[in-house]
């Protein structure tokens, strides 16, 4: 499934006037591509992802999914922190998608087992989330996203809250899983290394209002592992992105734009779910 984003803008209405979070984003994510979006804080990366997920409405422009739908769901999301249901055990957290859609229980139990085995957490099926480490929780969230059986997986800084070593491990794990059954992935991150290690192509965004500055193709051979990080191609790509990004990061830091305020974004998105009243 290709994702075609055309002329996407998003404006937030605040007391101090309108804030332009996205200023006309054009992107085409190819079928079965691991696509990265990188940019400074407050460049509207998360907004972009929410719009693709259908959680927020764009002010202008469109998001189209082009291609034959081969799966049950269109998108799955993985958030910065796992956002599991603490009152449910791991094996009841994973099948959120199929269960909420109304699939038959025996079927989604099989699916749950399959994906828990894939993320190597089958032993923890009956544990509650508060008994798991941060990395394990994030793996459960990944299994949940996969069990939803989507065409496109949207990841919003999925490893940002983990310690450096766990992050490395989970990156490898994610690569291993992705190589098995290539799905279209859109990964939002502010970690350049992570983007280069995982992605086929990376869109570099400018500071608010966010627009795509450049799309970089990552020429590092697959399958990639931790060792790929010392590959000359890897380093070259890293430098290229940083050259594009440093000016934007500096600009974002100095302006300290209010659209970086997450509570504002959350309020806005809530308004969109419920409409007026």
């Amino acid at each position: 499934m290709r994702v075609v984003i055309h002329g996407l803008t998003k404006e937030y209405v605040t007391g101090k006037g309108n804030i332009r979070a996205l200023g006309g984003v054009n992107l085409e994510v190819r079928d079965r591509e691991f696509f990265g979006v990188i940019g400074p804080t407050g460049c509207g990366k998360t907004t972009l992802l929410n719009i693709v997920a259908g959680l927020q409405k764009p002010t202008n422009g469109s998001v189209e999914f082009v291609g034959e739908k081969r799966t049950q769901a269109m998108v799955s999301m993985v958030f910065q922190d796992a956002a599991l249901m603490p009152w449910r055990t791991v094996d009841r957290n994973v099948p959120l998608g199929p269960e909420f859609r109304g699939d038959a229980k025996p079927m989604y139990q099989r699916v749950t087992q399959f994906f828990l085995e894939m993320v190597r957490l089958l032993d923890f099926s009956s544990a509650h989330p508060n008994e798991l480490s941060g990395g394990m929780k994030q793996k459960v969230a990944l299994a949940r996203a996969l069990a939803n059986d989507p065409e496109v997986i949207l990841m919003d800084e999925p490893f940002a809250n983990l310690d450096a070593q766990t992050r490395l491990l989970l990156r490898e794990e994610l690569l291993r899983i992705w190589e098995r059954d290539k799905k279209t992935v859109i990964l939002v991150t502010h970690n350049i290394e992570e983007a280069v290690m995982l992605c086929d192509r990376i869109a570099v965004m400018s500071a608010a209002p966010g627009v795509v500055k450049n799309v970089i193709t990552v020429d590092v051979r697959r399958p990639r592992t931790l060792k790929s990080m010392s590959d000359p191609d890897f380093v070259r790509c890293l430098e290229k992105i940083w050259d594009l990004l440093r000016y934007e990061v500096d600009k974002a830091m100095r302006e300290n734009h209010p659209s970086a305020d997450p509570t504002l974004q959350e309020k806005q998105s809530r308004r969109n779910y419920f409409g007026w009243w």
Binding site: N50, A53, G54, L55, A73, V75, S76, M77, F79, D81, A83, M85, P86, W87, R88, L96, G97, F100, R101, R120, F124, A127, H128, N130, E131, L132, S133, G135, M136, R144, N148, T166, L169, E173, E266, S269, R270, R271, Y273, F274, W276, W277
Partner: protein, 274 residues
Amino acid sequence: MNEAVTARPIKISERGWGGGSRRKVTLGRILFGIGCLAIWQWAHARLGTEWIAGPAEILGRAAELARTGELWVHVWVTFGEALLGFLIGGSAGVLLPFLLRLSPRLTRALDPYLAAAMGVPKLSLAPLLILWFGIGLMSKVVFVGALVFFLLFFNGLAGVQSVDSRLVSMARVAGGREWVITREIVWHTALPFIFAGLKVALPRAISAAVVGEFIAAEAGLGYYINNARSMADTVGIFTGVVLVTALVIVVNGALELVQARSLAWRPVDRDMVV
């Protein structure tokens, strides 16, 4: 992948520096109880029955009331009023936050009015309610209901508003309907808050019924206490108070059993009171 399971809450006794600690606690508890009774008995002996009724007298009175059957009538009346009011006010108080969730704008618009309604001292409404609903069961049920409603409503609202918005987003992306999201996510998030509200509301429901009976009633523990007061029957007042307390303790115990079962997933029993 070698990741350690984060520690479950460790009981102090598992750590090894409190082998006999549980026994010591039990012993201390018993000693404290005996101490209290001793002070009570001493005050009783010092000041006389007309000021402070002694434990033995109260026990005797309670036994006598139980034999004549009067006790069960009073307890049953008070319990019935509290229970009915609790069920009506409680279910409304729990349900309404879930309905208000569907419209955050309406909730915000209503906010000052709800705060004002919360500010009305409910106990001062009792005379008015008796004027409207008479001195029978109805006025106490309404009184208890109003009190319980507000306690549960505000706790329930806090619970509903603390729902993890990402979880709801996820469920929506997965195609969950509003009803399924409410049942599977919002309800479970709000449950600890609701239990915290229940914990506060249950004893208050019984107190409210008793206060209602003080003002005007024909039966019930509050009626018994007030009646004893008018006849300068100190033993009767004390017996009434002890019976109300016993009723509250029994009801609280029942609640805690239910709570332990419903909230087994919570690692620590944190009370959530707003």
